[in-house]
Each structure stands twice: as C-alpha cells, then as structure tokens.
C-alpha cells in the first residue's frame, strides 16, 4: 500500500474509532433513559421514578388475573420471577395478553404499591412454531414435571 493510502486509511480508522467512542459514552450517559421499561425487581429496589409515569415490564403471573365486575378493569401481578408488582388496568387488552405472557404497562405507582396502568402492550417472544409443536412441547414438559414429582414422592 502506498504511504498516502495508508495515511488515508489511518485517518478514516481514527474517525470511526472516535465516533464509536463518542457514541458509547453518550449511550452510557443515557443508559437509564434508554430503558424502555423497568422490571419488578428494579421497582422493588426503588430505581423507578416516583413522580412521573414510567413503564414496567414482566410476565403476567399465571392465576393472578382478576376481572372486576365492570368487565373492563383487570388486576394482575407482574413478575420477573424474583419480585412482583400488582398492576391495575381499565381498558381493552391486546390479543397476546394472557397468563404467563410478557407485557409492558405504562402508568405510575400509587402509594399503596399498586401500579395503575394507562396502557398495556404485549411483548412477544422470539419463538415461532406451529400449534401442534407448541402443544407437544407443552405435554412433553408436563410429562417431565409429572415424572419428577412422581420420582420425588417415591
């Protein structure tokens, strides 16, 4: 490579490295604000903002969904398998909302520890499969669990 080309390559390399460093620093500084949602553990640790609305994300705990008599208000607990937060929401839930599903709720935390949501979004996972496969996976999992339980009883 001729010296002039080497110099150009070097200059461009320096430029790209500079931009990468600047971006990394900026993103690190913004870190908190780039989080789209907080997890129940973070909320329990008091990391979530108290004054203004924020988003909370986690799994809908199976068996915790309760519909109130007006038919529109639901309460459920949101968990990240470590902590849980009770969420209350009035409105229409997205198609993918179900027990065990990951969701993101926008709202604010009341003094009673109940998170009052104004918007609930379903978070989809990265798995795609036909229904038959999903159900056979589920039965296989249940069989495995049953065997484990049987084993521990015997």
């Amino acid at each position: 490579m001729t010296p002039i080309r080497k110099k150009r390559l070097y200059l461009i390399g320096m430029m790209v490295v500079g931009v990468v460093v600047a971006t990394t620093l900026a993103l690190n500084a913004f870190d908190e604000n780039l989080m789209f949602f907080f997890s129940p553990s973070e909320v329990a640790a008091g990391e979530a903002p108290t004054g203004h609305p924020f988003r909370i994300g986690g799994l809908v705990e199976p068996g915790s969904v309760q519909r109130q008599s007006d038919g529109l208000t639901v309460a459920f607990s949101l968990t990240d398998n470590a902590q849980r937060v009770t969420v209350e929401y009035t409105g229409i839930l997205p198609d993918l909302f179900r027990e065990g599903q990951g969701i993101v709720a926008m709202g604010s935390l009341g003094n009673d520890g109940i998170f009052v949501a104004s918007e609930v979004l379903a978070k989809h996972d990265e798995n795609y499969m036909p229904p038959e496969v999903a159900s056979s996976l589920k039965t296989a999992h249940e069989d495995g669990v049953n065997q484990l339980i049987k084993g521990s009883v015997q």
């Binding site: 461009i12 839930l93 609930v120 795609y128 229904p131 999903a134």
Partner: protein, 248 residues
Amino acid sequence: MIVRFFHRMASPMHFYRIAGLFVPWLGVLSAALLLAGLYGGLVLAPTDYQQGESYRIIFIHVPAAWMSLFIYVVMAAGGLISLVWRIKLAEVIAISSAPIGASFTFLALVTGSLWGKPMWGTWWVWDARLTSELILLFLYLGVIALYGAIEDKRVAARAVAILALVGVVNIPIIHYSVEWWNTLHQPATITKFDKPSIHLSMLVPLLLMALAFKLYYATVVLMRARCEVLERERNSRWVQSLVEPAAR
C-alpha cells in the same frame, strides 16, 4: 494476476458490459426465489401457535430488516474503498445502494408497524430497536440528499462516503439494541450464536425470501450502477460509440 483482474473489472467500460450480462440472470433467479418463498411462507407454512396468521408478515419484515443493515454495510465499505483507493466504481456502487437500502428500511418499518398494532397493541413505540432503525432511514435519506446537493459528483461521493462511515456506528446498535436495553421488540430469532428459535417449516421460506431479497438487491444495484456509470462517463469515447455506433 488477481490485482490485474480487479483493475480491469473496476474500469467503467468493462463493468458496464459484464454487469449487463449478469442483470437478467440475477433478476430471473430473484423472481423465482421470491415466488417460491412467498408460496412457502404464505401458503405452505403452518400458522403460529400464538400469533395465528398475523406472524406471516415476518416473511417480508425480517428479510427487509436484514437487507437494510446489509446494504448499509455494503455502502460504507464502498465508501471506505473509494476514500482510500479512489476507485470510481466503489463510489458508484455505494451511491447506487442508498435508495435501495432506504426502501428496505422503510419496508421494514412499515411492516413492523402493521404487525405491532394487533400484536403489541400499538403502531409505534420509542424503544431502542425501533428508534435506531428509524435513524438508519434518516442516514440513508441524508446520504441521498447530500449526494444530490453537491454538483461535482466526485466531491459529492467523497462527502457521502464520510457520512456513510460515520453512520456505521448505528449498525451494531440496531443489532444489539434488543440485548443491551429492555425493548418492546423481541430478541433475535435466527441471527444469534444459538439454534434458531423458529420451526424448520417456517425457517425455510424465510431464508428463501432472504436470498430472494439479496439477489433483488444485486440486480437493482447493478442496474443503477450501470446507469450511473453511463452518466459519469458520458463524454468518454466508449459511451459515445455505444450511443451512436455509426458515428465511430
């Protein structure tokens, strides 16, 4: 020997001729794969266990999003080569890629939005993945606008190359945004060092579509580059003789 081959290929005249030979074949192959992929994805592939039929938008959305990143990398590499080695053809390829990349980015954003409404419950959220992809669209539009704004095309190509290289920092951000931050967008299904979390019956048409999109890009970028070469070399003798063979 290899160096000589590249030098020959990089001469606009040879490129124009050889690219012209490739274009129809690539086009036909791309169309065939596209038909096969669409048939496999929209008709043969089973419905998803959770999303039902709506998931089928991934057969457009995912390849388009991959292409939006891929084309940007090609464009930036072309920019690097044109800045360091001053090869005109690299400039031509880089600038011809920009509108195609912008289209794929737009397609990825629109299809994602259409899917987001029924699945997530919203058309748009400002999470890291969606926002960084939107910035990618603006980078492409910036490249196109900058190139159009400068009269001298060689100067324009240099300015565009620098912009494209600066923007490269956005590419890993888009890819890893779903891991670095909590986002509403789900993590990667296929582009990870792990078994793809998609059933084979859905994966095959998806990869067919991805290949079809790649070949479509190859076809269109060669067509655009040929056009650009003609325009830049319009005063040279080989173009003149191409237009008016009799005047030779």
